[in-house]
Symmetry: C2
Subunit: 234 residues, 2 copies
Amino acid sequence: MGFTTAAMSSPVLFHFPFDPGSRAARLALGEAKLAFEETLVRPWETDCPVRGLNPSGMPPVLQTTHNGKPLTLCEAPAILGWIEDQQKTPLLLPADPAERAEARRLTAWFERLFTDDVNAVLLHERMEKPLLRLGPPEARALRDGRAALKDHLVMLEGLAAGREWLAGRRLSQADLIAAAHLSVLDYFGELPWKSQPALKLWYMKIKSRPCFRPLLADRFQGLAAAPHYADLDF
Amino acid sequence: MGFTTAAMSSPVLFHFPFDPGSRAARLALGEAKLAFEETLVRPWETDCPVRGLNPSGMPPVLQTTHNGKPLTLCEAPAILGWIEDQQKTPLLLPADPAERAEARRLTAWFERLFTDDVNAVLLHERMEKPLLRLGPPEARALRDGRAALKDHLVMLEGLAAGREWLAGRRLSQADLIAAAHLSVLDYFGELPWKSQPALKLWYMKIKSRPCFRPLLADRFQGLAAAPHYADLDF
C-alpha cells in the first residue's frame, strides 16, 4: 500500500480499507462531498503512522484544519461528528428527534453489539488471522460468528422491511455504519443475501451511491472479493 | 427495587444503578438540570420493562415527549445526544473543535476499549457473577482485569495531569462517561487512587458536583460500598 501526499488544503484520512470504522469515515466524507487525500495504513505494523496520531493506535484518523489550525480527529465518531458539525442542514443525523435517536441507537448497536458478536469472532477468523498470520480459521468460531451474524441480519431485515432507510425516512449515519460493517463481510462472501430480501434492496440502494464506489475497488491481500461484491445489481 | 410513577410532564429514565451507561445518562441529565422520574430495572430478569422498549434489552432508556408526542431514547448515546440537542449553548460537547473531537474520541474509548478490557473482565467478576449467581470470582480474571484497569488509569492520569478536564479546558461528556465507569469500580474498591494523584483530584472535582450526589447513595445488593465511596474528600 502506498502513501499519498496531501495538499495543504485537503484533509488526509488515515484508514485501513477493511476496517469498518474506516469505511464509515470514507462513506461519510463521500456523502458530505468533502474531498480528502488518503493514507492507507496497516495498524498492526509497528511503524504504522496512526500510532503517533491516535492513542488507541487505530484508524480512522482524519487530519484537517480549522480556522487555519491543524485539527486531528481520531476514531469514526469524532470524524462523523465533525462532518455533521460542518453542515448547514442535518446530513448524518436526521432532523426528526425520533429518527435522530434511532440513528444514534443503531450506531451504538453496531459499535458495541455487532462488533462484539460478529466482528470479534467472524472477522477475526476471516480477516485478522490471515493478516497477522495466526493460522487457519477455526470451524467452531466460524460457526458461532455466522450464527451471531444471522441474528443481526434478521433484526436488520425487520428494519429494512418497514422503513425506507434503517433509522427512518431518510438516509443517516446508521445506514453508512451498517453498510460499512456489512460490506466488509460481503467481500469475504459471508452475507446470505437471499434470506434477507428487504435488506438486500436496502444494500443495493446504498451500494449505488457515489460514496460507495471507492469501497468496491478495495482489494484484500491474496483474496479476491466474493463474485457479487462489486456488482450494483447482484 | 420499586417502580416510580411518572408525571406526564417529566421524562422517565429506566436505569440499572451500576450500569456505567445508565450512570452516564443520570449524570448528563443532572448537568443539564433536567428533572426526571426513575424506574430502576434489573435487565437480566425476564420481566424487565426495558425489554419492551429497547431492542438490545438494556438500559438506559429515557421516555420523554417532543412537541407533545412520545419519544423513546434507547442507549446512552441517544440520551446524551438528545440532551445536547436541547441546549442553546454547548453543554456535553465543548464548542472548540479540538476539544469536541477529544470528547468524542474519549467517549469511543470508554464505550469500546474500557468496556472490553476492564468491564467485560473485572466488572463481570465483581458485579455480574453475584447478580447472576455464577459463582465466586476467578483469581486469574480479577488479576487480568486489574492489570488492564491500571493501563487505562495511567492513560487517564496523563490526561488529568495536563488538563483541567479530560477533554480540555471545560467539562464534557468525556468526564461524565469516565466518571460513570470509574465510580462503579470505585464502589467495589477497585480504584488505587493513591497511584493516580491528578486523576484523584479530577475525580474529587466531579464527585462534588450536584449531578453526582444520587450515585453516591446507590447501594448494591449484599455488598457495602468501599469506605471512601461516598466521601467527597477521600
